[in-house]
Symmetry: C2
Subunit: 363 residues, 2 copies
């Protein structure tokens, strides 16, 4: 396991959660390679740093333990070690996200977060940009390490890169952001266009052309590409347009919402809230069914005949949702494969929405 034989034996000792190493450790570990925190001539190493030095053979023992024994001192150490090693092998310097190693200000969670204390806001590792190290003042990635079997509160994401260690110890990096959602689609809406509710859809038998052609509401009954004719609306489009008085059906808004809730429960309300927020931002949401999402979105629709590529896949989730990493991996992988950004709409019961974008990262 040793990359090279050390010039002379280096030994560390566990002391209050860190590994202290004396001798020329400061020069050897910190100055030349960015490991640890200098304390005079000594260096204090976080366990993950000590594990990596043991693994490389650059440190011989810690309190007599080799790599194998040391890895067992803490259940969380092995997954952190795997991520730490991966960044080191990619040529990055990185530090554990703990006071003394990095500035306290770099450790603060996302200001927008407010969640239970049992869910770490923080990060596990701070990765510096290529060529930089702990002695510089720049950060490339704030890394949160999670095992495949842990669950992750959606509200705790938005600023960190998730490093997911799957059950076979392969790594997947997921960058999380809080994007601004806006578009430029505008349309002068008509009033009280008549139609009927038919099971899970409404049909407008003689709609103004612009409703579909310019604003991309609904779908022609005669199929895609049909010129004019009756327009089918989804239940969520129906509820939105009914509330805006754009259409006038044989039933009222309550009946439409009830029909939505009968099958979907609260999910229908969440989808309607997200649909509304997107439309109000000038973005056109259409069904994301073929991608397994709630919506695919077009930010700038001028005409259906000249429709670009949809930019995002949107999934409406309860604000307190916790992701299984595998579920996140599925959504993000699919979105990446079709060149769209996976975007989660974390939606409260009162319809407030936090947007969360997640995409795969290759450091």
């Amino acid at each position: 396991m040793s990359a090279h034989d050390p010039i002379r034996g280096m030994e560390g000792r566990l002391d209050g959660g860190v590994v202290r190493v004396g001798g020329d450790a400061r020069q050897r570990y910190y100055d030349s390679s960015g490991y640890g925190r200098p304390t005079g001539e000594e260096v204090a190493l976080a366990p993950v740093e000590a594990a990596h030095l043991l693994f490389r053979g650059d440190l011989d023992t810690v309190d007599g333990m080799g790599f194998r024994e040391f890895l067992a001192i803490d259940d969380r150490l092995v997954v952190r070690f795997l991520v730490y090693r991966d960044f080191r092998e990619r040529g990055f310097y990185l530090s554990p996200a703990r006071e003394g190693w990095v500035d306290a200000s770099d450790l603060a969670g996302d200001a927008a977060d407010d969640h239970d204390t049992d869910d770490s806001v923080g990060f596990d590792l701070i990765v510096y940009p290529p060529g930089k190290g702990p002695w510089d003042d720049e950060i490339a990635y704030r890394i949160r390490v999670v095992g495949e079997r842990e669950s992750i509160r959606a509200s705790s994401l938005g600023r960190c890169v998730l490093a997911v260690v799957d059950e076979e110890s392969e790594l997947t990096y997921l960058d999380t952001r809080r994007p601004a959602i806006d578009g430029s689609t505008t349309y002068d809406r008509p009033n009280s266009v008549p139609g009927n509710l038919l099971a899970d859809r409404a049909i407008l038998w003689d709609p103004p052309d612009g409703l579909y052609e310019q604003a991309f509401y609904g779908q022609r009954l005669a199929g895609r590409g049909a010129e004019g004719g009756p327009l089918q609306l989804s239940l969520v489009e129906t509820a939105f347009l009914l509330r805006e008085d754009v259409i006038d059906l044989d039933v009222d808004l309550t009946a439409v919402v009830d029909r939505g809730r009968r099958v979907e429960g609260e999910r229908f309300d969440r989808r309607l809230a997200v649909y509304t927020a997107l439309r109000e931002a000038g973005v056109v949401p259409k069904t994301g069914f073929k991608f397994g999402a709630d919506f695919r979105t077009y930010a700038d629709v001028a005409s259906v005949d000249d429709l670009g590529h949809s930019e995002r896949l949107v999934r409406a989730l309860p604000a307190d949702h916790a992701f299984a990493p595998r579920e996140l991996s599925l959504d993000v992988r699919l979105a990446g494969g079709v060149h769209k950004r996976m975007t989660f709409a974390l939606t409260t019961l009162t319809g407030e929405i936090d947007w969360l974008a997640v995409e795969r990262l290759t450091p």
Copy 2:
């Protein structure tokens, strides 16, 4: 809405769930275009056929109703109509799956099925091969029409093509089959290779090379591509190899299974049953995490250095699972995008497995 004006008015009447049309209807609808069931000179049309003829303007009214009124006679009619029309536009002839229209033997569900009577085993439409019709004796597809918001029992699939009508009335066709799962991977397993359990993985510190190189168990601790060295095993690999006496850890099988169940509950048992069935069939399962699945599988591994493309993505589900169409769409779309077959392992508590493959179909 009318494709052409009829030569003379054709009128139908509702009678016991069918629409009867007299005059030259037999020649006009059945003989020349495969609509309906001839009853003497008259033709009996299923509602979906009558709806399509009304839509095309080839039938004027049914009991005085035009297309628009007729569509409202039954909540299920509109989704069936959309699918019926789509096949007609693609040039296929098709019939409703009901006695009198097609042979009773063609209507029987999958013999392997045994589920509640409230879940239709049957099909809604029978599609004939190109150039064939109801007067021939060949079937291209057995179609089951479902709305996006319906749930679909996994056990009822395997022989039909699902036609999913999404909330915007777009269609997605999913072909379902019961595949045979087999592979040719063989390996003479060693005995009692020692190792330790470390949190969610086991590490074999000095394993025989073939365990990884030939049989593709585990992952090198030193990373992919590393020659030799310690091997990490996932919990499910660990449980399987422990039960087979291939490895010998500091803990027993019960402790490993308990650790799996602690987070995953019964899902761990299902995954272990599926893993075991795949290995026993000569197929190598590895994690499907990056694809959001339980496993990706390789049927014929001779050497890890010469690994082909994995053929399937496998998800372990309870035998009584009911799919949301959107969930099915997500899995199948992702699998198609990476050229693998989405395969569900419907697994009972006692570990019996029915395999179900689902893929997108373009008729």
